[in-house]
Amino acid sequence: MNGKLVQSIREAIALSGLKSGMSISFHHHLRNGDYTLNRVMNEIAAMGIRELTLNASSIFDTHAPLEEHIRNHVVTKINTNYMSAALGHRISEGLMDAPVDFRTHGGRPRDIALGNTPIDVAFIAAPTADCAGNCSGKYGPSACGSLGYAFPDAMYAKKVIVITDNLVPYPMKGWSIPEIYVDYVVEVDAIGNPAGIVSGTTRITRDPVGLIMAETAVKVIQHSGLLQDGFSFQTGAGGASLAAASFLKDVMLRDGIRGSFASGGITGYLVDMLSAGCFESLMDVQCFDLKAVESIRTNPAHQEISAMQYASPAAASAVVDKLDVVILGATEVDTDFNVNVHTDSSGMIMGGSGGHSDTAAGAKLAMIIAPLFRARLPIVTDHVSCISTPGRDIDVLVTQRGVAVNPKNQELMLRLKDAGLPVIPIDELKTMAECITGKPNKPVRSGRTVANVIYRDGTLMDTIQSV
């Protein structure tokens, strides 16, 4: 029997040699159901280790207890790709001395691989593992499907601790991350709450505005010239994006178009498209619902990819660069097509790029779907509160009252106009929205820098100020 299997998280931490000032990492495949990050942080705090750099691929509301660890200087620096409002608002209020470094899903593995953000100890929650650390997200009571974001941590961290609630005899079948990277394995009662890990089903929106935007989005794709055999596609899990996927499926089946692949976060809608023959393959960095988890477990055409293969600019090649069309969301878009997905209109942190800038940079057609205004807030502004994805990478904005094409893409502009789509200059969309909502006061950016937005190539894209 090898010596990897240890009795407790605390023992694994001790054996890993973790000390104050070091760097630790987590993946976010268990999303809002994750128990592991909080449990590990509590152990670390109890052991008196302080001043750590936390490198987590995403931070969700369930990780709100991090606030205490930050106040107590257990964590003094955060690197992440996404931070939801619970901790985000505290960061915006100035909770931390050092600014949070936001990266993208492709930029994070790039900087880990290049040694810019070295990891001393990676904690990998694994829905199934054996005693040598072979592990996977496809099986077990806490199954989450793909473990894509955990690969760079496993491959590059100095020490790797796998934490599982489903320990199986060696060698486990169908592992994703092999034992060669793993130093310690811990069995716990539960790594997460399955109800929060994946949704039972993700549903398309019933909101008529969302459905109208989705219909328009599909028309844009149809007339872009890209929808032909070999088509590749990515979309988020938002209501309107899912509706677009569902309408796109109808068009592809009707016109007999056989696409190549769909990528990114995978939902049941993309699984349906795969089974219906719309695509040859799914390239899955993360599963969003039970149907996706079931599919990645059983269908060889549904393939797990690492964060590097998904989006890293340091990789020899990546999936995002082969995308034809990506549908993305936005909290704000400015008249230069710059997109904000990090903060709300008041400048409070409530999100992050995730794969937004990676796919926008890679895809031939990067489309933003957003309503002209949410409640009373216009989506199109003169200047976004924070530039998450630069306007040069965005081709078109689809709203319920018109489609704005980035003037850099004249070909698309002509195609959409010829197709009779309601193409409107983006500043007219802004005026239209403000006619309805009134002109909003723009909060002035003052305060000190609480976060850096680092583009996928490592350059500083923008900063976020305290509110």
């Binding site: 409640a375 009373r376 807030l377 909502t437 909003p440």
Partner: protein, 89 residues
């Protein structure tokens, strides 16, 4: 001149709506504003509330506005409804 003689409410807490509560008040108009778009539209909302009260001839009332991003004409409609419900004959 209209006097608010009883507590009255109008509107809902749904998105794009506003929930307005009016209460009798001894002197002047006092407005409490809670809005998801306070940073962007706070002054505009207060102005709409004040204008409707003036149009309705109400010069003393306590107004509690819980706004979920309602458009200006919605805010005006809800305040007017609350006045109608709360004023004396």
């Amino acid at each position: 001149m209209s006097k608010i003689i009883r507590r009255a409410t109008a509107g809902t807490l749904e998105s794009s709506d506003v929930f307005v509560t009016l209460e009798p008040h001894d002197s002047g108009v006092e407005i409490e504003l809670d809005s998801v778009v306070r940073n962007q539209f706070g002054p505009a909302i207060l102005k709409a509330v004040e204008e409707v009260l003036a149009e309705c001839g109400v010069n003393s009332a306590k107004v509690i506005v819980v706004d979920r991003g309602a458009l200006d004409c919605v805010i005006r409609a809800r305040v007017e409804t609350a006045v109608e419900r709360g004023k004396g004959e």
